[in-house]
Each structure stands twice: as structure tokens, then as C-alpha cells.
């Protein structure tokens, strides 16, 4: 069984529909994300990219279809159970815990990995103390990896935009995910910041073996980083393949040219 699982894709999405009232955001999308790849989802605004991430991370339930992650049927899980399975994400419009410090933000990512209950946490002795220490050490190393050690004690909402994006990345990494969902991580960044972040994401993928799903508008970034790319338009997948295949695809070119003002 284990051998079979290893060969299967990490994330299988089959025939997923999401609708809000009468508006159809996803109309029967199939995707397969393999272990260890960087998989980008692109498409014009309103194509359903963020909706797809929301469906994967349990914010919305698909109205129809199935999402299988690592052998588990996600569409039956509650949002908070997905972190423990190993799915983490960042948000298009930052969703940091604003009143908390950088370190505390990232520590929240450890929540599902920590075990202590109310009584133990309140007494803070023995196991609870050791657990807190261990996780703080791990968080410290994540912060160091992201170059956030200097600002660990700062309130998260006082940081400049680029750093806040990194804190979100750190919070997602703290989950120790198998699958990392990044929703426009480069938006609003300058060239140098983008380069630095690309390096980090590549390293997360290559060195730590974390599978990444990336939504990004900057085609240069997408084409240089991704192993495979899927193109959504009006809630439907219109193309999928390597960056080279996708950028030569007729339907993709039409979709982008035809909806320039959306």
C-alpha cells in the first residue's frame, strides 16, 4: 500500500466545482500535483486561482468533486485538520496576526504540532516547558533562514511590506508542510526582493523537499521557477504542461489577449 501511495500524486483534484450563489468560480477542474514539484497556477484575473487555493486549504468546500491529499479525502476534513495533514499557505492580501510579534505569528504555525492541554500549559512545568522550548528553537531557525531574527520581537504589523510577506512564509513553514500554497507571494515587490524570495522558495522546494503550488502574475518568475504550469480561465483548466509547452499554447495566448482588461 505504501509503495502505491508513493507513486500517486501528492494532491489529486478531480472535477472540482465551487459556486457562490449563482456565480460559478470553478467549473469542474482536474489537477494533479506530484511530490516535490513546483506547480504554478496562472490565468487572468477572475479565473478562479485563489478559489482553487481556498478549496485546497479548506476555506471553501467544493460544491462538487473530490480533493485527495496524501491519501486523505480533504473535502471531508475541517479547515483546522488540514494543517496537521501537512498543508500550509500564504495569502494574497496578507493575513498576519497583527497584534502579535513576528515570533508569535510563526509559533502559531506550530500549533497543530504541539500537544499540551490547558492544565499543562497553565502550570508550565516539565513536558509543557520542554515542548515550548523545543518549538521556540525550531521557530528561531526558521526565522534565521528567512532573515527575520532581528525583528523576531517586533509587532508583525509594524514591519515593511516585504518583511511581512516573509513572516507569512515563515508561519506557513512552521507547520512543517508537505504542501505549501503560495498566493501571489511576489505581488508588490521590487526586483531585488523578488530575486531573494525566488531563491528562498527554490531552496524550500529543493533542500526541504516541500511541494509548492504557486499562484503568480509575474510570468518571468513563473516560467523560471515552475516544473509544471496549469492555466485556468473562467473556472476551467485550459492548458497544463511544462513552462515551455504552456507558453506556446494557442488557447493560453487567446485567453490572455482576449481578457486584457478584466
Amino acid at each position: 500500500m505504501a509503495a502505491v501511495l508513493a507513486e500517486r500524486a501528492l494532491l489529486e483534484i478531480s472535477n472540482v466545482h465551487v459556486a457562490f450563489g449563482g456565480v460559478v468560480a470553478l467549473a469542474g477542474v482536474d489537477l494533479e500535483v506530484r511530490r516535490g514539484e513546483i506547480y504554478s497556477i496562472i490565468g487572468p484575473n477572475g479565473a478562479g486561482k485563489t478559489t482553487m487555493l481556498n478549496a485546497i486549504s479548506g476555506v471553501f468546500r467544493p460544491t462538487q468533486g473530490r480533493i485527495t491529499f496524501d491519501g486523505h479525502d480533504c473535502s471531508r476534513k475541517r479547515t483546522q485538520q488540514l494543517a496537521a495533514l501537512g498543508i500550509a499557505r500564504t495569502f494574497q492580501n496578507l493575513a498576519l496576526f497583527r497584534g502579535m510579534t513576528v515570533e508569535e505569528n510563526v509559533l502559531v504555525g506550530r500549533h497543530a504540532l504541539m500537544r499540551c492541554g490547558v492544565i499543562e500549559c497553565g502550570i508550565h512545568f516539565g513536558r509543557a516547558r520542554a515542548e515550548e522550548k523545543r518549538h521556540r528553537e525550531r521557530v528561531a531557525s526558521i526565522l534565521e533562514f528567512l532573515g527575520l531574527t532581528q525583528v523576531a520581537r517586533e509587532p508583525a504589523d509594524k514591519l515593511p511590506y516585504g518583511l511581512r510577506k516573509r513572516v507569512e512564509l515563515g508561519r506557513a513553514l512552521a507547520v512543517e508542510p508537505k504542501l505549501l500554497l503560495l498566493d501571489e507571494p511576489m505581488a508588490g515587490m521590487n526586483h531585488a526582493e523578488k530575486d531573494a524570495l525566488m531563491k528562498l522558495v527554490t531552496e524550500i522546494n529543493a533542500a526541504q523537499g516541500i511541494t509548492v503550488i504557486l499562484i503568480e502574475h509575474d510570468m518571468g518568475v513563473v516560467m523560471s521557477m515552475s516544473h509544471r504550469v496549469a492555466v485556468l480561465d473562467h473556472g476551467v483548466k485550459i492548458a497544463e504542461g511544462t513552462p515551455g509547452q504552456v507558453s506556446a499554447d494557442e488557447a493560453v495566448i487567446r485567453a490572455y489577449l482576449g481578457s486584457g482588461d478584466e
Binding site: F91, G99, H111, G122
Partner: protein, 333 residues
Amino acid sequence: MLAMAVAAPFLLSEYWIKAILIPTIIFGLSALGLNIVSGYAGLISMGQAAFMALGAFSAVIAYGRFGVPVPLAILLGGTVAALVGVVVGTPSLRIKGLYLMVATLASQFIIIWALQRVPWTGSGSFATLNTPPVRIAGFDFSTPTAKYYLVLVVVAVMTLFGWNLVRSRIGRAWMALREHDIAASIMGVSMLRYKLLAFLVSSFYAGVAGSLVVFGWTGAASVQEYELDVSIKILGMIIIGGLGSVLGSFLGAAFILLLPILIAVAMQRVAALTGGGTVSVDVLANAEHVVFGALILFFLIREPQGLAKLWFGLAGWVDRRTGTFNATKGGRK
């Protein structure tokens, strides 16, 4: 600070202990409870006084009628309040803001109303139950000093517990829910569990505070001491003391309890200077309302982190002055 609290009975008169010190730490404990649900978890609650009432009556009935030992009666007071608190908190899973406010307000009225009608409580709008002399393991807690230490021990233990709790994964889960509940649940925080837990812990603290009122302060549980205005006062304590601050809960309680005295002294002085004679009790009570409201607004607008922030600022200034800055900076925040 703990050393100061322990030494207090040797430094202060009996009046100060009974009228200021004991109520300050009891209400500080209740405010700490409210701070957990409102300050940390960001859920409004207008019923903290009613939970105190539940604790007070449960404890006095357990001890006075059934002879349950005082420590267990205190625990029971907290537990009864906590159980009701969870029920009251249930709507918080689906609603927020106005709706939760009304749910907790409704609970405040309904609990007090029910207490006035339970035959055991003496009944009526002035339902009061006196406790028999408080004895623990043969030792008599009748002097203000003895009562003070009883209260101090319970409050100190629970404050330490609460302080640990808010800095643990549980406290962080509460704050995360407060700041962004969807992001929090994606990080693995269960809204259901942690919102109910916040209500449970919060009302447990209120219940214990209520039983301490009986055993360590007034010697009685009486319904009219826990009306809506008391809930609002406790809310004021955490706003003025500092939302999301353990220390602030106690600073706020001290401040609110000292306020009537400060106002009375100030107004009598002014009246004496202007030759206006004495100021009536009614005017004093209403002046307190005005100042209380104005302080809430002042802190919300100017210093949302309340007295706790000012306190830490002052402490930092003193430290720098005395050159012990580096020594304290290493300590945990």
C-alpha cells in the same frame, strides 16, 4: 511585587485591606478572566458579573448548606460558572460582534433573574446568603488579615496559571483567532474548541472570584452586587488597565476601585475651596459615571494598551535611571 503584596497587612490599616486591597485583587482576578475572553480571544462578553454571582452562590450553598470544605467550595463555584459560561459561549461559534454582545447581555439578565427565583438563594431582588464562619482545617479566617491571605493565595496561584496560559500555545491560539480567525484555523486552530475554552476559563475565573467575595471579603452572596453595571465596570477595568494584559487586569481593577475615593476627595476639596459646602452622594456617584466613561474613551483613543503600557514605560524609565536596565531586560516579558 509579590513581596509587597505579602507585606501589605503590616503596612496598611485594616480599612485599606478590607475596602481596597481585598476587592482589588478579587476583581482583578475576575477582570483577568474577562481579559482572557475579550482581550486575548477578542470575544465580547457583557456577563462577567453574572458569572461571579453564580460562583458566589454555588460556593456559599456548598459550604453553608452541605459543609463542603472551603477550598472545594471555591473550586465548585468556579466550575459551576465555567459550565454555564460554555453554554453562553456556544453562540460565539457562529456569531460575533453585536450578536455575541446581545447573547452575553441576555445571559447576564437571565442568570441574575434566575438566581432571584431559585428557592435556595433566599429569593427576591435582594436575595442574600450569608456564609457561616470560614474555617479551613480548623483554622479560622475571620480577621481581615487572614481573609486577605486566603484571597491572596488563591489569586496568586490563578494569576500565575493564567499568565502561563496566555503565553502558551493556547494563548497564542486565542490571539490568532482574535486577529484573523480564518488564517488561524488554516494554521490548525480549532475555532470551536478555543472559543469555548476561552469562555470556560474566563467564567471559571469569574466564578472563583465570586466565591472569594463570599469567603474572603463580604461574607455573603447577594444578587444585587452582580447586576449589569458591575459587568460594565469589569469591562472598564480591562480597557483602562490594558486589553490583553495580565498585569493590566489588576491595575485596572485597582484604578476603578480607587476612582470613587479619588473623586470624592477631589470634589470635596473643590467644594471647600469654592465655599459650596458638601457634595451630595448622588452627585458623587454620577460624577463617577462621567469620569469612568471619559477614562474609557481616553484610553481607547489615546492608549489602547492601557495602564499596563504606562506601567512598563515607567518601569523601563526607572530601570534606566538606576542602571539595572540590562539585568531586567534578560527576563521574560
